[in-house]
C-alpha cells in the first residue's frame, strides 16, 4: 500500500526495527495528517500519539503499517470533530470573497468538509488510492467513497467559480 510517497512496512518476519519503521513512515504520515487537519502542529501531535500506540504494541503487531494508518486517521477524525464543533460556535470573521488566492480558498473549503469527504479527497488525489483502498482505510463501504468525493468536488467547483 502506498500512502503519499512512503511505502508501508509489511510482513512481520523480515520487518525492520521500530526506529527504522518510524523513520520510513514519519514524513508521509505527517504530510497526510497535515492535509487532513490543515495544521502542522496538530498533525505532528496526532502522528506522535499514533506512533506511541504502535510502539506499545510493536511486539504483537503482525503488520504495523495498517495499524499506524488507522491510528492516524482516527486521531485526525477525533481532532476534526472537536474543531468542527468549535467552528460552528464561532462567527465567520473572514470575508471569503476577499481571499487572495485559490490555494487559500481551497484550504478553507477543505477545512469545512465533513471528515470522510476530506479524507476521501486526500487519499484519492494525494495518496493515489483506489476507491476500494480508500474504503478500507476509512472503514466504510466502497459505495460511500464516490459520492463523498463527488460532493466535495462539487462544493469546490461551486466556490471556485
Amino acid at each position: 500500500m502506498v500512502v503519499g510517497d512512503v511505502k508501508s512496512v509489511e510482513g512481520r518476519a523480515d520487518r525492520v526495527s521500530f526506529g527504522e519503521f518510524y523513520r520510513l513512515e514519519l514524513d508521509g504520515q505527517v504530510r497526510r495528517a497535515v492535509l487532513l487537519l490543515g495544521s502542522n502542529d496538530l498533525a505532528n501531535d496526532v502522528v506522535h500519539e499514533a506512533f506511541v500506540a504502535v510502539y506499545r504494541r510493536w511486539d504483537v503487531l503482525d503488520d504495523p503499517g495498517p495499524y499506524l494508518h488507522i491510528a492516524v486517521l482516527n486521531g485526525c477524525r477525533g481532532i476534526h470533530r472537536q474543531r468542527s464543533r468549535q467552528r460552528r460556535l464561532l462567527p465567520r470573521l473572514v470575508d471569503r470573497a476577499a481571499r487572495a488566492s485559490d490555494h487559500e480558498l481551497i484550504d478553507d473549503l477543505l477545512a469545512e468538509l465533513p471528515f470522510n469527504q476530506r479524507a476521501a479527497v486526500v487519499l484519492r488525489f494525494y495518496g493515489g488510492l483506489t476507491t476500494v483502498e480508500i474504503a478500507r482505510e476509512l472503514g466504510c463501504a466502497p459505495g460511500s467513497v464516490g459520492p463523498w468525493i463527488n460532493r466535495a468536488l462539487a462544493r469546490l467547483r461551486k466556490a471556485l467559480r
Binding site: 503519499g4 526506529g19 505527517v30 504530510r31 502522528v47 481551497i106 472503514g139
Partner: protein, 335 residues
C-alpha cells in the same frame, strides 16, 4: 483527470511538501512507557458514594428477562454488599488495556484482556452467538467479536474512563469472579456526533475479565447521563433523537432508510414489566424512556456476514454510517 481534480492534486502536493515533520523517536519511546489513558486520580468522580444493591439485582433480572430464559446456570447468588473502594491497580491495568483496545480497534488486544470463557454485552444479539443468553457474546466467538469491533469502528466509539470503583460482590455474578469494578465512562460516538456517560461493569478473575457490560441503566441512574452537559461532542442522546425527528420531517426517504424503530418489551413478555420498572424505581416515565435503549430495535441487519439484532441506543445499520454521518452534519449545520 479534470482540471479541478488536477488543481486539487497540485494543491495537496504543495501543502504536503510544506509540512514539517517533528522527528523525535525518543519522545515516542518515552510516551509509550507512560499510561495512555486518562489519569483517573486527576478527575473528580461524579459517582455517588452509595450503590444501591437492590438495583444491581434488578440488572440481573433484566438480563434474564432479555434472554427470555430462566436463571443462568453459570451465575451465582450471594447477598454481601459493601461500600465501593479504589480498585487494585492490576485490575485497572486490565480495564485500561481493554478500553485502549476498543479505542484502537485492536481485536486481538481486546480478546487478550479476557479469560477464555469470558464474555461481554455487545449491545444487541448476534444470531450465531454460542451463548444461550441474550446480549451475551462469549469472546470465544472470535469472528463475532471481530464483527462487533467493526460496528464499533463504524460508529467511531471513543471511550474515556472517568472514574472507577471496586465493588463488593453483587447479588449475581459469574462463577470464579474475585473482583468487581464499575467505571463511569464517557462514550463518544464520533460518527453520530453523540456523547453520553455510561456505567461500565466489569467482573474479573485475577487480571482477566470474565464479564463486561455497558450502559447499565438498571442501577443508580445518576451514573448514566444521556445528555451530559460537559461533553465534547455536540449531541447527547436527546440530540440524536432530535436529529431523527428532523430527518423524518425534512428527509422522509432518508428517515425510512436510516432509522430503526426502538421498541420496548413485547406485551406478552413474562417479567419484563418488573424489569422496566427497575430501571428507574419510582419514576415510571423515565423507566419507559430508558427501556427501548436496552431492548432490541425492530430490524436486524448484517455485519461482515453475521446477523445482528441491535439494542435501541444505536439501532442503525452500520453499512449506512457514512450517509448517517453526513446527514447529522447537515442537521448540525442547520441548527
Amino acid at each position: 483527470m479534470t482540471d479541478l481534480e488536477q488543481q486539487v492534486t497540485d494543491h495537496l502536493r504543495r501543502r504536503a511538501a510544506a509540512a514539517t515533520p517533528r522527528y523525535d523517536l525518543e519522545a515516542v519511546r518515552r510516551g509509550a512507557s507512560t499510561t495512555g489513558l486518562v489519569a483517573l486520580g486527576d478527575r473528580r468522580s461524579r459517582r455517588p458514594l452509595v450503590i444501591v444493591a437492590i438495583s444491581v439485582a434488578a440488572a440481573s433480572l433484566l438480563l434474564v428477562a432479555l434472554a427470555g430464559v430462566g436463571d443462568a446456570p453459570e451465575r451465582v447468588e450471594v447477598t454481601t454488599v459493601s461500600e465501593p473502594a479504589d480498585p487494585p491497580s492490576a485490575e485497572m491495568t486490565a480495564i485500561r488495556a481493554m478500553v485502549e483496545a476498543i479505542n484502537t480497534r485492536d481485536t486481538a488486544a481486546f480478546l487478550d484482556t479476557f479469560a477464555p470463557e469470558g464474555g461481554f454485552a455487545p449491545r444487541g444479539d448476534f444470531t450465531e452467538s454460542s451463548s444461550l443468553f441474550g446480549n451475551h457474546l462469549p469472546v470465544a466467538d472470535v469472528k463475532l467479536v471481530q464483527a462487533w469491533m467493526a460496528v464499533t469502528e463504524a460508529w467511531g466509539l471513543q471511550a474515556e474512563l472517568i472514574s472507577c470503583a471496586a465493588q463488593a460482590m453483587p447479588a449475581v455474578y459469574s462463577d470464579g469472579v474475585d473482583a468487581v469494578v464499575e467505571c463511569e465512562v464517557a462514550t463518544r460516538w464520533h460518527t453520530l456526533s453523540m456523547e453520553i456517560t455510561e456505567d461500565w461493569y466489569f467482573e474479573l478473575r485475577d487480571t482477566d475479565l470474565l464479564w463486561w457490560n455497558s450502559l447499565s441503566c438498571c442501577r443508580d441512574l445518576n451514573l448514566l447521563d444521556l445528555d451530559p452537559p460537559d461533553r465534547i461532542l455536540p449531541l447527547g442522546y436527546d440530540g440524536l433523537e432530535a436529529w431523527e425527528a428532523w430527518l423524518q420531517v425534512e428527509h422522509p426517504e432518508d428517515a425510512a432508510r436510516f432509522l430503526n424503530p426502538r421498541e420496548g418489551p413485547p406485551d406478552d413478555c413474562d417479567g419484563c414489566e418488573e424489569a422496566v420498572a427497575s430501571m428507574a424505581p419510582g419514576d415510571p416515565d423515565r423507566a419507559a424512556r430508558l427501556a427501548p435503549l436496552v431492548w432490541n430495535a425492530r430490524d436486524d441487519w448484517v455485519i461482515d456476514g453475521h446477523r445482528f439484532s441491535p439494542s435501541g441506543l444505536i439501532p442503525y445499520d452500520p453499512a449506512l454510517a457514512g450517509d448517517i454521518e453526513a446527514s447529522i452534519r447537515e442537521y448540525l449545520e442547520e441548527q
